[in-house]
Symmetry: C2
Subunit: 348 residues, 2 copies
Amino acid sequence: MAVKSGYRRALDIRRGVVDMTHGSGGRATADLIRELFAKHFSNDYLNEGHDGAVMPPMTNPVAVSCDAHVVKPLFFPGGDIGSLAVCGTVNDVAVCGAKPLYIAATFILEEGFPLADLDRIVGSMAEAAREAGVLVVTGDTKVVEKGHGDGIYITTTGIGEKLTEHSISGRAARPGDRILVSGTMGDHGTAILSQRENMSFGTTIESDSAPLNRMVEAILEAAPNTHVLRDPTRGGLVTTLNEIAVQSSVGMLLDESKIPVRPEVAAACEFLGLDPLYVANEGKLIVIVPENEVEAALAAMRSDPYGTNAAEIGVVTEENAGRVEMTTLMGGRRNVDWLEGEQLPRIC
Amino acid sequence: MAVKSGYRRALDIRRGVVDMTHGSGGRATADLIRELFAKHFSNDYLNEGHDGAVMPPMTNPVAVSCDAHVVKPLFFPGGDIGSLAVCGTVNDVAVCGAKPLYIAATFILEEGFPLADLDRIVGSMAEAAREAGVLVVTGDTKVVEKGHGDGIYITTTGIGEKLTEHSISGRAARPGDRILVSGTMGDHGTAILSQRENMSFGTTIESDSAPLNRMVEAILEAAPNTHVLRDPTRGGLVTTLNEIAVQSSVGMLLDESKIPVRPEVAAACEFLGLDPLYVANEGKLIVIVPENEVEAALAAMRSDPYGTNAAEIGVVTEENAGRVEMTTLMGGRRNVDWLEGEQLPRIC
């Protein structure tokens, strides 16, 4: 390893592990920040080296969202806890109708966690942040004793600026509006569970984890009267739609035949006893728009690499306020209720 | 317990515990948010019920800071993990020379954690937020299996607006500047360790955990040319001053006799083999100002309830750049270096 004269690396990233000193706030913490975090996240705000970051004024309304990430396993097909932590929060800010700009990240590390894994995870975060066009501007690291964590928990808080004048909100769905999704349902949760249970279904099921902020910008440009944007994560499509139905005091009628689900995900879910409409997504949008903006919104979604399978799946109704119904493949109609209890723990 | 007609509480806060369903994103998560979090944190932004919160534009530069909190024990004299999580982040934003406005909070809960403890902790957060004048505007909850946490880990991210035109930063200390502290050193860490080790020193040592944003406002009004503001948390006074000395490429000379330390903290530290100047504070400021603003800054600090013991403790020097020296009680002069290794794990 090349070492600059007069400077010796303090971390052995290839073979070293996290120890309690890395969370002490002393020299070992400074080494970890300099040789690992700053290497990946370098930007003017972070490099200031203060406990906090100072950024320019934000002249539009400010959107903030945060998520703790405890996904198990840490690495899975299509991503890892690092990319997930950035994409999840980028998407939560984007669905406020906002452009995400900054991320604050905290790390709770378990003593003994390999520095090589941490380096890979932080590298994934940086790559996802570059793709989304956001900067990781400040952070914090704590270390807990072996046996008091699961290697790494990551919390991310995203900050962005509103793109629209009007409120994009779960309270804004109106009877007659159409319900769109940006692609196939259930990919992320099914990928995690297959990985966790060591199941193989002939083909590897990949998480859909992806930053959706550029798709949101395109939708809001094409369909400026968009009423609701949501990312159907934990609890999946149906739980998120139930939340919106309650918040907007409207009913919803879905057409099961229109809801895109990958065949391999459907097969895996059947095997696992799951319903893909209740399984978490990490790279999909629910978009609720007035009927006259359906085509524009769909075209905007389909022009994005993460929206090629976008589809209209249902309609907002005046009747059955607070409830979601679905016309099934069999032609019947049934109530599709909230997720009860725990379906998939530690999915994000 | 009074129950509104037609509404039955889903949570038994007095006797219930956290279970995996509370992190699923389904109905149990919604119950926990409504009956526990929203009860304490109610405000217009949070009540919108979106995944994120939308706030007005911020016309001054924006300051952001975040901290993960893993303190053990969760409850200690002078505070708990909840008040600490709010005060710590409020202070990190304030020392950017900013007025903290909003908090985003994530909770990683361990299966089996008593809801009564969670309710008490969230209540403490709300009380600290009220005192500081900040709003908890958005949050997230995850649950991990029993044995994979320590009851509760809390991450808070604070967002505020700059109060000054110029940069308040660890890079801004200048030779000739004076070094002030707002009160006694080492109280928080000593309180935690005494509690953890079940030690009693005749009197209960209390954490100094407190929101310092109002004191910061007073200082910046009285001493507008303040160069550096810091809260000496992990690693204590000496580690923080070493960081500033490196960042500003200056030396520092402290006068040990001027540094306020409570006698009971000094006694406890001696017993525990600690140096209070390396022990974490959670309600104290380091303030570095030009000589002609010393009296104004000290007066501003002393007029605040958390600054009654404010003192001038040293001077910034041109020589010994990057190092901190101290004239000891014995009259000698010694180098006081960074904290090496782990002094006090899980202190915040």
